[in-house]
Symmetry: C2
Subunit: 175 residues, 2 copies
DNA sequence: CTCTAATACTTGAACTCTAAAACATCCACC
DNA sequence: GGTGGATGTTTTAGAGTTCAAGTATTAGAG
């Protein structure tokens, strides 16, 4: 990143191997990615907060549940597929439960387990807000990209996401 | 997005124009992007929290300041370049000030204005943590991409970021 | 020159997120 | 069939974020 090159132009000597800085192209890409990430997340959070009364993440959890068999999922599995920690999920589900969109059920096969279940009301809410959200995503992303760019973008993001999937040693979403 | 197609497979009739859903490719791309975004942000937040004692965003603010003339910037300009609201910036600078990495100064030309100034201590801190952070970014992103992919990725993210830049009517980061 | 609207920034309260610790249950092994 | 470690989930406390409202200063219209 450009920033760190500047920052480090007169860095103190260390016994570390010389760091490999980012080249111009990488700097520009990194900057663009961070900006896109910040702006998009902010934009969609605002859209959903306004139209559905919840942040982007929470909406994604309801969607995930809506696609699961019997519209229910074990907490840990839901956390894994949403790529978040179990703690974060606990808080989120607690809030969604207060809204009446999700309900918790004991897992029949494992007494430690909990199932998050999408309620009818939650399903209805999702049905009503989905078109608006898809439109927002389309307007902010896919209307701007050619099919080829969409493919490339997906491939690249897929690589990044896959590489960050913990391999068993370090399991962020299980913390 | 696949999710919403499922969700909406039996959606109630409305008088809205039929929504344009995402096709398979778009669904896959959107999912991959969201996952990459979540995992990366989480990963880097953790890396910086551990090695520099602050979240990713705060680190970015210090970097931005370090590159500015005289290592100082007006609050609004800093908010704009970091793509965040002024309120968020205010809180962030307050925290960084407590750490002694940033100091506020009155703007000489506009009595309403404040300058955020990177302190010597802040600069030193940045110098020490930059190599580790660059290494983390490289390992998580650029080591996985070919130069051509890096270029494509940057171009695509640039398009998304540019399109979300408010045009004057709606100015998120000025709220 | 003065009034009003716009701009610059901060604050407080409500909400969300993180990290660590707590609690309960399960499982494998003795 | 006990026991210790692993697993599943929640809780607590503290940090970060948002939104709306508040203060101060500038600028533009008359």
């Amino acid at each position: 990143m450009r920033e760190t090159v500047d920052v480090m132009s007169n860095r103190p000597a260390t016994d570390q191997p010389p760091a490999r800085w980012l080249n111009e192209q990488e700097q520009a890409t990194w900057r663009a990615f961070r900006h896109a990430m910040t702006l998009l997340e902010d934009h969609l959070d605002r859209q959903l907060q306004r139209d559905a009364g919840m942040p982007h993440l929470y909406y994604g959890l309801l969607v995930e549940l809506s696609e699961a068999p019997r519209r229910r999922m074990r907490m840990t599995e839901l956390a894994r597929s949403a790529k978040i920690t179990r703690s974060r999920l606990s808080h989120a589900i607690a809030r969604l439960e207060k809204n009446g969109w999700v309900r918790r059920e004991d897992c029949p096969s494992d007494k430690r387990g909990q199932l998050a279940v999408l309620t009818e009301e939650g399903y209805r809410m999702l049905s009503e807000s989905a078109p608006g959200h898809v439109a927002a995503v389309r307007a902010a992303v896919f209307d701007l990209l050619t099919p080829e760019e969409t493919r490339q973008f997906g491939e690249i993001c897929g690589k990044l996401a896959t590489a960050l999937q913990p391999t068993g040693a370090d399991l962020p979403w299980l913390r």
